[in-house]
């Protein structure tokens, strides 16, 4: 199935070639979790600070749940603004 992976700020270096505007569509097996998806692209666990699934925050515990086709996963390291 296909999901969209978006990696922002310093995590952008982990995106594969062909990514546009910090996003790439990836094929993953059924049952893949957010944690497994981020492992595949080498995103360091300690840098997975703000993790959104379809724009909604996913707590560290929820990152083991399986993704669904068409989901969008967006991840940031620790950041803030004002």
């Amino acid at each position: 199935m296909t999901v969209t992976l978006k990696l922002f700020a310093s995590l952008g270096v982990h995106l594969p070639p062909g990514a546009r505007e910090h996003a790439v569509q990836v094929e993953i097996p059924q049952g893949t979790s957010i944690g497994e998806l981020l492992d595949r692209f080498g995103v360091p666990p300690e840098q997975r600070h703000l993790v959104l699934r379809n724009g909604v925050f996913v707590s560290p515990a929820g990152r083991a749940e399986p993704l669904h086709a068409g989901d969008s996963v967006a991840v940031w390291p620790p950041v803030a603004g004002g």
Binding site: H22, W76, P78, V79, G82
Partner: protein, 615 residues
């Protein structure tokens, strides 16, 4: 100590500068800067005064930690009755000016009256005098800065000035110090212009004493280590600045877009903090040159940018080819997503003009966005805009109108009124995205519920910096709360409001609170200042300040009916993103908030509350 125990009273009508002892009884109740200057203001000014009349006063105030060795201790605030809002105004700025004023031996300057001719104030330690500014009037902030330093042959002079916007009565004019730091909101620059005060130039060499130097040094070193080791203040903010939020807030569906008609902007990645760091296709160089720190700051979140020389807007204007203050998140949102514009170079130019001529980019951008909706809805046409095709997304309209607004020319005269007056003038008041007359900033309260209550109850009109619940609702600082539900938000907003009033009154920067709590700030204040500065007392100080500001507004004519959001936010559901179908639930939050504050159902502090706070 911490305080210099001395204020400067400048009567512009009479042309006099007189020192006075600081009222230390008030300092013990209100700490400094925002709180203490508001106390002076409330005691001295009739709340019904016309903000642009000589009877309004303008106070530049430092905090007890301003100018000390604490990290970020360079802040000052400008307190007055806001030209844009008619409410209490307190606009906080960084840079180096505040610390210089404190080092010259002054806790604050109180300006009264109106000068018969334009003047500027020169302070060299204890010497203060008013000088003619006839040849500076009509000049930009940047020209004024250069001229004053040149005339006094002193490149160390720190200068806060108004540009053409403040002179021309643009109601959201700001005061710019150190070329691109600003006391930005509520029109404090218009008040300064109405007093014919062009600038304040300061050189200070006296130093700032603290009550317990050994303990102060020890505790400030310890707290700087926390800022350095924290991932947000040690890495995230210096690297990406506030602009990293553009993609975050867009992804969560809370980025007000095209005058808040929508909550997500398809162009967000192209105007984000990440985009500022990417090489441009035209010249291979990024928009961002470097980060920059204010006085004593160990975070250094500021942005310094350079515009692409080949871009249409500066191709024939080499004076804008040099590096200057770059886009912060709020500015990029207002002049980008809110206007539907995704041209980073045009937006950087508009930001430069806001700095050069002294305008608040939040209010300017949001007012332009309202004008664009007026145009697209047919309420105004090219006859009103002077031939400009004012549709959403038109970058040339932005770069033309930012100049016209500062100069008070063409349709810029209408934009200089601010969004509320503009939309009222053209018969569509519901298109103004304001609270108490001030444009709301870069967080849509349909997607971040707590920000709705924050905007509605902010004493200076809609503002994110009075209770930045985004920290909790989006970023998880100090702990994560759900942005889509109103539950628990009244208590969160009240706690943030009171704590922020303390930080703003100390002389420190609010951005430290991404890593510090009041538990970290309290020992720094306690080591610098004599007296009881326990955590309990500081929290009481914060709540006292909030209620004092509220009382001023009530006496100025505001009521609980002004604690309202624009109708769009409470009746038009978000069209996309996680908040799709939601409006802001202000009606659920406001009564609980009033009760937590000890206010009656009309938002008026009860006698018991006032007595408890010593008001």
């Amino acid at each position: 100590m911490g305080w210099q125990r001395r204020i400067l009273r400048v009567n512009l009508t009479e042309g006099t500068c007189n020192p006075e002892p600081l009222n230390m009884d008030w300092a013990r109740q209100y700490l400094g800067q925002r709180g203490l200057a508001t106390k002076y203001f409330v005691e001295e000014v009739d709340p019904t005064v016309d903000p642009l009349s000589p009877d309004n006063k303008l106070i530049f105030a430092t905090g007890p930690l301003t100018g000390t060795a604490a990290s970020t201790a360079g802040r000052y605030s400008v307190i007055t009755k806001g030209a844009l809002t008619g409410a209490i105004a307190c606009s906080n700025s960084g840079g180096y000016f505040g610390a210089e004023l404190k080092n010259a031996g002054w806790d604050m300057i109180v300006f009264e009256g109106r000068a018969p001719e334009p003047v500027y104030l020169l302070i060299e330690d204890e010497e203060a005098r008013l000088l003619p500014a006839g040849d500076l009037w009509g000049r930009s902030v940047w020209e004024t800065h250069e001229r004053i330093q040149h005339d006094h042959q002193d490149p160390m002079l720190k200068i806060a000035a108004i540009g053409q916007a403040g002179e021309n009565g643009v109601l959201f004019a700001c005061i710019v110090n150190d070329l691109h730091r600003a006391a930005g909101r509520s029109g404090v620059g218009a008040v300064m212009g109405s007093k014919r005060l062009k600038a304040v130039a300061v050189r200070g060499t006296q130093g700032v004493s603290v009550a317990d130097p050994r303990r102060f040094l020890q505790v400030t070193m310890e707290k700087k280590r926390i800022l350095a080791e924290n991932a947000v203040t040690g890495q995230g903010l210096p690297t990406y600045g506030t602009q990293v939020l553009m993609n975050v807030v867009n992804e969560i569906g809370a980025l007000p877009t095209r005058n808040a008609r929508e909550v997500q902007f398809e162009g967000a990645p192209r105007i984000s903090g990440e985009a500022m760091r990417e090489p441009r296709p035209t010249d291979g160089k990024p928009n961002l040159i470097t980060n920059q720190a204010c006085f004593g700051c160990t975070i250094a979140c500021g942005r310094v940018s350079r515009i692409d020389k080949t871009h249409y807007v500066v191709r024939n204007k080499p004076q804008y080819w040099k590096a200057s203050g770059g886009l912060e998140y709020e500015n990029a949102w207002a002049m980008g997503a809110d206007t539907g514009i995704d041209d980073l170079e045009a937006m950087t130019y508009a930001n430069f003009i806001c700095n050069e001529q002294g305008m608040d980019p939040i209010s300017f951008g949001a007012t332009l966005a309202a004008a664009m909706e007026l145009y697209e809805s047919g309420a105004i046409g090219k006859e009103e805009t002077g031939g400009i095709d004012l549709r959403f997304g038109n970058a040339e309209a932005l770069t033309t109108l930012v100049e016209q607004t500062a100069r008070g020319e063409g349709f810029g005269r209408d934009l200089g009124l601010g969004s509320r007056r503009l939309c009222e003038k053209y018969g569509r008041p519901e298109l103004s995205m304001t609270v108490k007359g001030q444009e709301f900033p870069a967080y849509d309260p349909r997607g971040i519920q707590g920000m709705g209550l924050t905007y509605a109850t902010s004493n200076r009109g809609a503002c994110h910096l009075r209770s930045y619940t985004v920290a909790s609702e989006v970023l998880g600082i100090p702990e994560k709360t759900d942005p889509l539900v109103p539950d628990g938000k009244p208590a969160l907003v009240k706690a943030f409001q009171d704590a922020t009033a303390v930080v703003d009154s100390s002389g420190l920067c609010l951005f430290t609170t991404f890593a510090w709590s009041l538990d970290d700030i309290q020992p720094q204040i306690d080591a610098a200042c004599e007296g009881d500065w326990s955590l309990e007392n500081l929290l009481a100080v914060g709540e006292r300040i909030w209620n004092l500001e509220r009382q001023f507004n009530l006496r100025a004519g505001f009521t609980g009916a002004d604690d309202r959001l624009p109708e769009r936010l409470v009746s038009e559901p978000a069209r996309q993103g996680p908040a799709k179908g939601l409006t802001n639930q202000l009606d659920k939050m406001l009564p609980e908030y009033y009760a937590l504050r000890g206010w009656d159902e009309n938002g008026v502090p009860t006698a018991e509350t006032l007595q408890r706070l010593g008001l």
